[in-house]
């Protein structure tokens, strides 16, 4: 066990930190953290600055806009981004989840088309899995793909996809048929969101990031837009979701909230017990996340580890956000738009974000179900 990063990794971390400390990034962060409620942060200058250096997706090959490094460097970028307050959802979604799925599973054509703009911070990829009647029980989805010549037309409705209103494309899970077994006959399509037949309405949320209500009224996609093989969608969807479950961004948010709370309220001695315990949980979650990152680097498929990492980091991050809000007193309820907001804190933002941590990318209950199954207690 070695808790130290290599000198090269440390240099990389500090270089990323320096980019994110630039004045223009700080100004942009201050601006987007105080956006009006009907706007949301999208492709930030901070992303482009990292993208220019190949650091937004450093684990991708140079030809796709990375620097050919590993998931370790990728996770370092995520940690630094969150520590410096840069909104990370667009990046996590586009690079960590959608981009990595394309990178691992996509055809050379799909990769060549989509990965470079993602790595440059110039495109957004989304996930179109959930539906009005489909959340945790993904195999119940109703969206169907119908043959049209050599391509497919998609029909259905997708909800709760983040960033769809400003997204460039989405990974759309649809039923291509061929089997009565509900886990079979599913396929994933890479759907450009400007395709005729895609209609996106906002689904306003209490968070800074909003959902889309995506109606699919027969947009045409081609064979080349299929991610992996037709009929292999269940396995691919599982893989995409697993990529979300190292918890690296969640532990980073937990650590940020705990550090800010400790620094901001050193006199809160009555809360000492809870704060020290929370700090330890945040750091333990960080170890679990980095263990999960290590497993990804090694090509491992330890489902229980990913589920544990996601459960632990999301529960801790949510708990940290709530405790930070409780400790901040009335000032903690002020948004960054309010002139009386004390400045520099993300307490109110974090409090609105917290419930989503244990829901997105697999609810806590689904994670416990996976862990229980690994214990030999399938429910």
């Amino acid at each position: 066990m070695d808790l130290r990063f290599t000198e090269e990794q440390q240099r990389f971390r500090h270089a990323v930190r320096a980019v994110l400390a630039q004045d223009e990034v700080r100004r942009e962060v201050a601006r987007v953290r105080a956006l009006p409620p009907t706007e949301e942060p999208g492709l930030l200058r901070a992303y482009r600055l990292l993208g220019e250096r190949g650091w937004l997706a450093p684990n991708w090959p140079v030809e796709y806009g990375g620097i050919g490094a590993t998931m370790v460097e990728k996770a370092i970028v995520t940690e630094e981004m969150i520590a410096s307050g840069v909104p990370d959802v667009t990046h996590t979604l586009s690079v960590d989840i959608v981009g990595l799925a394309l990178h691992d599973i996509g055809s050379p054509e799909l990769k060549a088309r989509w990965l470079p703009p993602l790595a440059a911070g110039e495109a957004i990829g989304c996930v179109l899995f959930s539906e009005p009647g489909t959340g945790s029980d993904l195999a119940s989805l109703a969206t169907r793909a119908e043959r049209d010549g050599t391509g497919w037309r998609l029909y259905g409705r997708k909800l709760y996809g983040l960033k769809t209103m400003m997204g460039d494309f989405g990974l759309c899970l649809a039923r291509t048929g061929g089997s009565d077994v509900r886990y079979q006959g599913l396929s994933v399509f890479v759907l450009p969101l400007d395709t005729p037949g895609v209609v996106i309405d906002p689904l306003w949320a209490m968070t800074d990031e909003h959902f889309g209500d995506v109606a699919l009224d027969g947009p045409l996609v081609t064979e080349a837009d299929v991610l992996g093989e037709v009929g292999d969608g269940w396995r691919i969807a599982g893989q995409v979701l697993r990529l979300e479950r190292t918890g690296i961004e969640l532990q980073a948010k937990a650590c940020r909230a705990v550090d800010a709370t400790l620094a901001g309220t050193p006199e809160a001695i009555g809360y000492a017990d809870r704060l020290v315990a929370l700090d330890a949980e945040a750091r333990a979650g960080r170890l679990l996340s980095w263990r999960a990152v290590g497993a990804l680097v090694d090509g491992g498929h330890d489902e229980a580890l990913y589920a544990m990492a996601k459960w632990h980091t999301s529960e801790t991050a949510a708990g940290a956000a709530r405790l930070a809000a409780e400790l901040a007193g009335p000032a903690g309820c002020l948004s960054r738009r309010d002139p009386d907001e004390p400045g520099g804190t993300l307490v109110e933002h974090g409090y609105r974000d917290a419930p989503g941590f244990t829901i997105a990318s697999g609810t806590s209950e689904m994670m416990l179900s996976i862990v229980a199954t690994a214990l030999g207690l399938p429910v």
């Binding site: 066990m1 808790l3 520590a83 704060l275 980095w290 214990l375 207690l377």
Partner: protein, 383 residues
Amino acid sequence: MRVELSSVQQEVRTRFAALFDDELMSDIRRMGESPTRSAVDPAGAAADARTSRAAVWDALVDLGATRLLVPEKFGGEDVGHGAVVVLCELLGAALYQGPLLDTLLAQEVLLGSPDIEADRIAEIAAGAAVAVAPRATTADVLHRPGGPLGDDGGALDGVRRFVGSVPECRYLLAVAAHDAGTRSALVAADGLTVRRYDEVTRGQLFEVTFAGVPVLSWYVSGPTAWAKLVARARIRHAAYLVGTAQGALDLAVSRARARRQFGRPIGRFQALAFRLAELATRLTATRWFVRGAAAAVDVCADTDADCLIRAAQALAMASDVVGWIVSTAMQVHGAHGLTEDADIQLFHRRALVDRIWLGTPVELRQEVYPMLTLTLDNRLDTL
């Protein structure tokens, strides 16, 4: 950066795992206990337990447990705490009761002394066990030891309470608060007046009375050095508790899989499965946190507050998690868990003592809170 066992850690685990296999586990878990009320031959059972304890100690020594922390120049292996905690986890799962953890602490006291007693260090590394005795009153604990025994002359007078495994030890290290920090006196254990407590674990806990007991050696530790010794003891004990928690969780999961009610294993009900899954997750996080604290203490400077914080946090976290797991495991076992046949009741009884042995979780966290608020810079630079 690797959050996984190193080759040294794996070697230590493999080396000692055979001693704690399933066949021996139940015996080891009971070897420190007074005979149960149902024993047909209590004297014979007590003799058997004594034999088991001696055999386990000999096996631990043969496998090198008492050499792990000793520098190579004194014939030790010097594998560091990162590897020692792996052994401690095994000890905890077996509810090992014996002098090893105290002996490791005593070794560190001796090794930290400016006047190195090479022969004594070698003798202890070769298997001379040491009991550590910091408590004069029930309010005392290793990081806040009791007052001096006697008048600071060459002999000890007075009482030390809640001392473990004294009859199995060759030496006893009486620890006391002192103007310069902490002063410890090494005495021969042979001939000490001991009284075995009648207590919840029915285990190896003793009151020791000193009456003019000659001191073999004195060791004075300044506050900083003692704090680091305490931190390392906390990490070892935290790892022991992690092992205890794993042992209890394994029993609970086995029971939940085997016990059927309403036509299916009780572990297939979400109420129970989710609770066990949550605890398994918390335990996994705690295990890596404790291992992380151990790895950190191997490389940190004496004045590094982060190591002290991590050690206290690790012990508090392990103490909490073992408490949750043991109480849940008792519930999973139902009435069967209350019987002497069930191993889980051993865990329940032992948890009361072991969880607070080196300080309560709340006390530990209160202690490090002021330090924590001062050490928040550059925390991302290392795990």
